[in-house]
Point group: C2
Chain length 380, copies 2
């Protein structure tokens, strides 16, 4: 397979390719300074520690967050926020119908382990808009202990009203914990961080960095309990995790190669500018939707507010068969449930095996959308 010819439309799984500077930074940093981050006089350890510090500062700026904790993956960051929130019997957690298994499965665990209740917020099946008035009433009757919602649905690309929902949650219960799964849009869409206790970001998705680095951006003073334990390089004579600071969520060696990549990605993002990235993604979304809608056999899911991701199905052909047929033409898309089963229950796409998901990124072009259209025409 020559990647020169590959059309990659699976950016919701991971953005690809990365900016050239990300590859270079990872390789060069690892070759030159691949020591273990730490304190003291060891020159490599010092260099690694200062890279971690700088990257954290860049992230705080880019995400408008007062504090940021690193984690090896968004899944682990979500687990930390959800399992570390000290929820108890009868606590009501509201989610959107669009949540990923990295939210649903930790919540399902808490439902069994401590007896929380999980409720799904109402969304309109045509526009994908949230019925905010109904939510207000629901929150009044059963105030949220936690609200946990995505910024953008990883299946349908629907942009959720994070600001409105976080406001309703905090109005109904000032101590409600508001978590936002920003895997698909952190840093691209900027929510009002003052009302978000933790925005979970993934380095290898909307931030254009590498695998292995993700985390929690804290908008308020709320902090979860750590859910795993180990060496922090500080207060090593204590068997407790440090009570303060971000180190309590970062036990173990920092993945400094991934940090070096994220550092380069953040500089690159800053250079592009947020609006430039947003407008590229918006044009691309329109191009993808138009191309897909011009195929008569296609059902295309079109939320009123949609960012980067488009799901569709073709009459009489399974999503898997479409993925395989496009794969044979060197077009990378993704078929199935996309780890978000409730999205498909909600949309009625579970029985047919989910959807085909097409997702663009900075390096995707409208020409590629046109090519996708041509290839699909050959399939139907």
């Amino acid at each position: 397979m020559s990647n020169a010819e590959l059309i990659y439309l699976d950016n919701a799984a991971t953005t690809f390719p990365k900016p050239e500077s990300v590859y270079q930074a990872m390789d060069q940093f690892y070759r030159s300074y691949g020591g273990n981050a730490g304190r003291g006089g060891n020159p490599l350890a010092r260099k690694a520690a200062s890279l971690v510090h700088e990257t954290r500062e860049l992230l705080k700026l880019w995400l408008s967050a007062p504090e940021v904790a690193f984690s090896p993956s968004a899944t682990l960051a979500l687990n930390t926020a959800i399992l570390g929130a000290d929820l108890g019997m009868g606590d009501v957690v509201y989610v959107s119908p669009f949540e990923h298994n990295s939210v649903l499965r930790p919540l399902a665990h808490l439902r069994k382990a401590v007896g929380i209740e999980v409720r799904v917020l109402p969304f309109d099946k045509q526009t994908f808009a949230c019925a905010l008035d109904d939510v207000r009433k629901q929150f009044r009757i059963d105030p949220p202990a936690m609200l946990c919602i995505s910024q953008v649905s990883n299946v349908f690309g629907a942009v959720l009203p994070v600001d409105e929902l976080s406001l309703l949650a905090k109005q109904a219960n000032a101590r409600a914990i508001v978590l936002v799964d920003g895997a698909q849009a952190a840093g691209l869409l900027l929510p009002t961080m003052e009302r978000i206790d933790a925005l979970i970001f993934s380095g290898h998705k909307s931030l254009y960095g590498p695998f292995g680095i993700a985390g929690l951006a804290f908008g308020t003073r709320w902090r979860p309990q750590p859910i795993f334990f180990g060496g922090t390089g500080t207060q090593s004579d204590s068997l407790d995790m440090p009570a303060q600071g971000m180190g309590r969520y970062e036990a173990g060696s920092q993945n400094i190669v991934a940090v070096a990549g994220l550092h380069a990605a953040l500089l690159w993002l800053h250079e592009q500018g947020r609006e430039h990235l947003q407008s590229h993604l918006n044009s691309l979304t329109h191009a993808l939707v138009s191309a897909l809608q011009s195929i008569p056999q296609a059902t295309v899911y079109t939320p009123q507010q949609q960012s980067g991701i488009v799901s569709f199905t073709l009459e009489g052909i399974s999503p898997q068969a479409i993925e395989t047929a496009l794969g044979a033409k060197n077009i990378a898309v993704r078929a199935g449930l996309h780890c978000a089963p409730w999205s498909h229950e909600w949309a009625g796409t579970l029985e047919q095996g989910g959807t085909v998901r097409v997702s663009g990124g900075w390096f995707s072009s409208e020409k590629e959308a046109a090519h996708l259209f041509d290839s699909l025409k050959a399939v139907v």
Copy 2:
């Protein structure tokens, strides 16, 4: 700082440099095939999934383990094994005095949360040998629910009698869970895997791979409960983690760049051969010990069986000051507690702020040991 001149003797923190093939594999794989591992017809996803599969097979061979689960770090792998073991009130867990905070802190959490008891096995302070007869008696009186020991002390380089202790534990309680922290020696020293429920390995240490990939090598049919939850790309319509298979410990996107690096490292290890690696490390250990012992002001810790790591102190100079002085001469060593506080309580080195740790690897030479000696002579 020119790294051509750097003398890196901090391989216990992370082995550095890596084999050239590791850097190349990471960079090339990421540039060419940096998709998200998964099933189906997406060509990048297929390539990534097959890399993960091959790496797992290579690891199973190199570690003589029937099954291997990946984890982003040895800390998380240890947490999975310890917190996922379903220990209860009064269960007795035996550890060596040499355990790392990645073992001690999860155990401290369980002591508070469920009431386990943690006991320290007896070791001789001169030879660092384990008093196996005393252990046998102890195990008879209070049989172990779990034995959790390092292969090699990360502070003193002492090689622990893993085979003997695992046998005693299983004899005293056939259902005792035996966990071995192999961060410093997995793949280098081969324990009898049939008696080890899980050997925890770190990709970036004794396996010469990159940060971001570690895991559990299961020697028996024992499996912990998953401690974190998320998307697995399989059984996505269920809110439970899969009941079988390694995927249940691997929620979230695989770090395929790190996997690519580990893949190259395993091929490299196989080419060198285990005995070759062992004998190099043994010669180096002797050279380091000899060099250090020839300094009259030095107290050098010399376990009878010692692998790669040597701790020392100098009369009248703090470990930190030595680290800094050597750092200024471009020699990377590490001072402090090395995240293993009980080691220092046991050895009586806690008050003085720990030890200076010098740790060699494949790319360290006896010439570097000589250079360390010269530089230390200038310090004292």
